[in-house]
């Protein structure tokens, strides 16, 4: 955190806050009615002393309207959850900026990065009007995160050298987080990414929970209930549970076919004119079991703003119908390094294959054997970007020279590299292992959509063309996932995102855990600190050591330096082979739906579109 920027932002917020106090705040007409009727305190009392002022994307909005969306079921919590992204500290809208204030208005490092002091906004209130204080943080830490009945092990960013952090409550609005060593993950992973109300659907991470409501359902405080009651009450779909978000789920239950969320009268953000947010009255999410049915509803203008679950293959149909149904189409690049990526498993049991896969020249050859332009045309309507598997231009770690590293189409170079490492071509046109035995690799994948399977076929054919006998196998996700994480797949495929800040969850950068399919067994070794899996070779150990160093670095500049080094090493070694990335999301936006930018890189780590502040989207009617 640059202190000057921090001070500047804070003083600005403070000045604006003061001027509002003088000007007074405005609120939605329906809330004004409730205030008139005496059912709700006036807006000045509902807002905190210093409400967060949302930076407008277009204009100051108008109150009212229902935001219609579609989703695919209870597991699709993100269809709602990402529009109510309210953590302790916020990811910035532009990923190159530092982390921004959220529920905490400021924060301060001391003790050489071993203590972090958080200052909450005074007067924050839960959606039922009860004050939000540091007690809601301690409740989460002691009764959820450290309770092994609920959380088997606290999240890694809060455990430094095997020691969980210690909390020191100064008062209702000030809390100190103390670590055994400097904590480089606290701001980003801990407070911006995981800093939400626990548990965020099925993710089961967070930083606070409504103590005043949950205590009565927690077995520690109430002998009469068990943990299944607690899980039910703490869950995001519970319509009684207080929240800190712009909208609160008001209609949802067993077997329901739609989810309704209504405005939170105690929401703590305003626009630059002092209007309490959100502008939009309610969100209605309709459940669709079938993705195509959801897409059809979108084609006929049934949604006001949505890109989740909209298929790129329907892009032509959207273009044909947009004027008839009065909506516009935006193409927002997804922060995927590559829509489909290929992991040569460097920890595979087969010694012969492992030696080949561990050779960087082999992976480079496999990468340049692929014609990415052709894949872009065949599978992605020419709308993607042929590129190396690395971070996207919006990432703070991006360096232009690595984006096309080994991404050129050059079968001659591929053949030359393969010859160099002793994989001789036989009379049948296929290569053998250095010991003369048959070389054959199986590329495995899930039963993806047609575009993705087409791409897989093209890649497998390209590898056969340079003499590496390859075949492809697809299966259902359940079977595939188990095979991949248990180190059984030779060449795994997947859609990886995390291309803006992969350091948050660096599973594709180096073997981080069993989900790092370039070497799942080495990943398990790293995650379990050597107890499980296999010991990795030196080049991976170096990367693991670098990341260990990243974790205990608090200075942003130094952190960035380490991350850039890791990203560069990853690209140069082609640990993952990518083809066509940054494939666009088809964004369907109603013509009168405003405060939506023309372009935006979406990433799940950044809770897209959460950082656009959906609370200030509005209908211009």
């Amino acid at each position: 955190m640059k202190r000057s920027v921090l001070i500047l932002t804070l003083s600005l917020v403070f000045v604006i806050g003061i001027s509002f106090a003088a000007l007074g705040y405005q609120e939605a007409p329906q809330l004004a009615e409730l205030v008139q009727a005496g059912k709700l305190p006036p807006v000045e009392e509902r807002l905190p002393e210093e409400p967060l002022v949302v930076e407008l994307i277009e204009d100051i909005g108008k109150y009212g309207g229902t935001w219609r969306r579609g989703f695919t079921g209870i597991k699709d919590y993100h269809a709602f959850g990402r529009h109510v992204y309210e953590p302790m500290l916020r990811w910035p809208r532009d990923p190159r900026d530092p982390v921004q204030p959220g529920l905490a208005k400021e924060w301060e490092w001391s003790d050489e990065g071993k203590t972090l002091t958080l200052y909450l906004r005074k007067g924050l209130k839960w959606s039922d009007g009860y004050p939000f204080t540091t007690k809601d943080i301690t409740f989460w830490w002691y009764d959820i995160e450290l309770n092994t009945k609920i959380t088997p092990a606290p999240h890694a960013e809060w455990v430094i050298d095997g020691e969980p952090m210690e909390l020191e409550v100064v008062d209702d609005y000030t809390i100190k987080l103390k670590f055994a060593k400097p904590n480089g993950l606290a701001e980003t992973v801990g407070l911006a990414f995981h800093g939400n109300q626990w548990p965020l659907g099925f993710e089961r991470f967070g930083f606070f929970a409504p103590r005043h409501y949950l205590e009565q359902y927690h077995p520690t405080y109430n002998n009469a209930v068990d943990y299944s009651v607690f899980e039910e009450k703490v869950f995001d779909y519970n319509t009684e549970r207080p929240v800190m978000t712009a909208w609160k789920i008001s209609e949802w239950g067993p077997g329901a076919t739609r989810l309704v969320a209504k405005r939170n009268p105690y929401y703590w953000k305003v626009d630059s004119a002092g209007n309490q947010l959100p502008y939009i009255d309610e969100l209605v999410l309709t459940l669709f079991e079938e993705i195509e049915a959801l897409n059809l509803r979108a084609i006929e203008g049934g949604f006001d703003f949505q890109f989740r679950r909209i298929s790129l293959s329907n892009y032509p149909a959207f273009q044909l119908n947009k004027d008839r149904y009065d909506y516009r189409i935006l193409l927002w690049p997804d922060a995927v390094p590559s829509k489909l990526c290929y992991f040569f498993n460097q920890s595979i049991e087969d010694d012969g294959l492992r030696n080949i896969f561990q050779n960087p020249k082999f992976r480079q050859a496999m990468s340049v054997a692929i014609d990415r332009e052709q894949i872009n045309e065949v599978s992605y309507l020419g709308l993607g970007v042929p590129r190396t598997f690395t971070v996207v231009p919006d990432s703070p770690y991006f360096e232009p020279d690595i984006e096309q590293l080994y991404a050129q189409y050059d079968p001659a170079l591929a053949n030359q590299l393969l010859d160099e490492i002793g994989l001789k071509k036989g009379s049948d046109g296929f290569r053998t292992r250095p010991d003369g035995s048959r070389l054959e690799v199986t590329v495995e994948g899930m039963d993806w959509d047609k575009a993705t399977l087409d791409e897989m076929e093209l890649v497998v054919a390209a590898w056969n063309d340079v003499g590496v006998r390859a075949s492809m196998k697809t299966m259902s996700r359940e079977i595939y996932w188990i095979r991949a994480t248990s180190n059984e797949i030779q060449v795994a495929t997947w859609t990886e995102s995390r291309a803006i800040d992969p350091m948050v969850d660096p599973i594709w950068v180096f073997p981080f855990d069993e989900r790092s399919w370039m070497a799942p067994a080495y990943g398990s070794w790293y995650k379990s600190e050597g107890k499980l899996g296999k010991e990795p070779p030196a080049y991976f150990k170096e990367m693991m050591a670098l990341y260990d160093q990243y974790k205990v670095t608090v200075a942003p500049d130094k952190q960035k330096e380490i991350a850039k080094k890791l990203i560069r090493t990853h690209a140069e070694n082609v640990f993952v082979i990518g083809t066509v990335g940054m494939t666009p999301n088809v964004v369907v936006v109603n013509n009168d739906f405003r405060n939506v930018p023309e372009t935006f890189t979406t990433d799940w780590i950044y809770m897209a579109p959460g950082t656009l502040d959906p609370c200030h989207f509005y209908f211009d009617r």
């Binding site: 597991k75 993710e203 059809l296 084609i299 996932w481």
Partner: protein, 328 residues
């Protein structure tokens, strides 16, 4: 007759017990369990859950217990009307399916009525005018209906209604009607969303029933007693309606029992494609996510519906046909 009914009902109990065991085993057969599926699904949509969280979830849901214990936990609740807990919805199974069971029964029932109303007159017409133009046209349409699968018809209707007619085809109401209070307009809107699935579900069975009705009636019209009736000078109408059709209808009743499972599986597919809240979509999802108590209960309830359907068909047959009644 009463002894017959009681015997049949008692006979259903062991069948149900065996079915509940088989159901439970089948649901446990695929590799992995609810938790691994959840982990994979969340990862695919861009989330992440680590191995320790997965293990904790497994313990919380009791998935680490032996299968026998899990089975007992499920069935022991039945007498109390407790069908277990859905892992995915975090809610009792019965609460989830109770509302949807009604729509399933309504759609299936309407589809059965539709099948009967359409197939009997056509079957009679075809048999009486064998190889006429009408017979050939209906046979052609019948075979077309038999050969186009229901999901295809649903998709075709969805695309046709949305793209060409510009009307909403999925769900129970048009989007603007969902929140409206009950009125004639809303009721008509509901009917407009109900008849396509009913017709789609009925089409396949209709073709089959037409063939059965036609074949049977043809057989009977060639039998000696019909010839006798005709030669004695009975009006053709009476010959057909009073003598031939009453005999030919018996197989239609037995087939009714067999149509019920088809209607149920069809309601799953049609409900899924047209987003209609039958138990179908939930059943499919619960199978995919391995939400075992929910899937098991739905499977079990379907079996019960099948048994009851067969039972009712048998009684109806006994009631219509004195020969069966007297045999008991």
């Amino acid at each position: 007759m009463i002894a017959y009914i009681v015997k049949r009902i008692l006979g259903m109990i062991p069948t149900l017990i065996i079915i509940s065991i088989i159901t439970f085993i089948i649901i446990q057969l695929p590799p992995g369990d609810f938790v691994t599926t959840a982990q994979a699904e969340i990862a695919a949509s861009g989330g992440g859950m680590d191995a320790s969280a997965v293990e904790a979830m497994r313990i919380r849901y009791g998935l680490d217990q032996p299968m026998l214990v899990q089975y007992w936990r499920w069935v022991s609740g039945f007498p109390r009307g407790d069908f277990g807990y859905s892992l995915e919805w975090s809610a009792p199974v019965w609460d989830i399916i109770a509302g949807r069971l009604g729509w399933t029964l309504l759609l299936s029932g309407l589809a059965l009525v539709f099948m009967w109303l359409v197939s009997i007159p056509i079957g009679i017409h075809s048999a009486r005018n064998q190889y006429s133009l009408g017979d050939n046209v209906f046979s052609f349409l019948g075979f077309l209906g038999l050969s186009v699968p229901d999901f295809m018809l649903s998709l075709m209707w969805l695309v046709f209604a949305t793209m060409t007619l510009g009307i909403s085809a999925s769900g129970l109401y048009s989007p603007q009607m969902v929140d409206a209070s009950w009125s004639l307009a809303k009721f008509l809107n509901l009917l407009n969303h109900l008849w396509p699935p009913v017709v789609i579900m009925g089409v396949v069975g209709t073709a089959e029933l037409i063939r059965i009705m036609r074949g049977n009636l043809l057989d009977i019209l060639n039998q000696q007693y019909v010839t006798t009736a005709r030669s004695k000078g009975l009006v053709e109408k009476v010959v057909v309606r009073k003598y031939a059709v009453r005999m030919a209808i018996n197989p239609m009743i037995s087939v009714l029992g067999m149509q019920i499972p088809k209607m149920i599986s069809s309601s799953i597919i049609v409900g899924f494609v047209l987003s209609i809240p039958t138990v179908g979509p939930i059943f499919l999802r619960s199978l995919i996510t391995q939400d075992m108590y929910l899937a098991g209960t739905i499977l079990l309830l379907m079996t019960v519906m099948l048994l009851i359907g067969n039972f009712l068909a048998d009684i109806a047959l006994a009631w219509v046909d004195p020969r069966i009644r007297f045999e008991q």
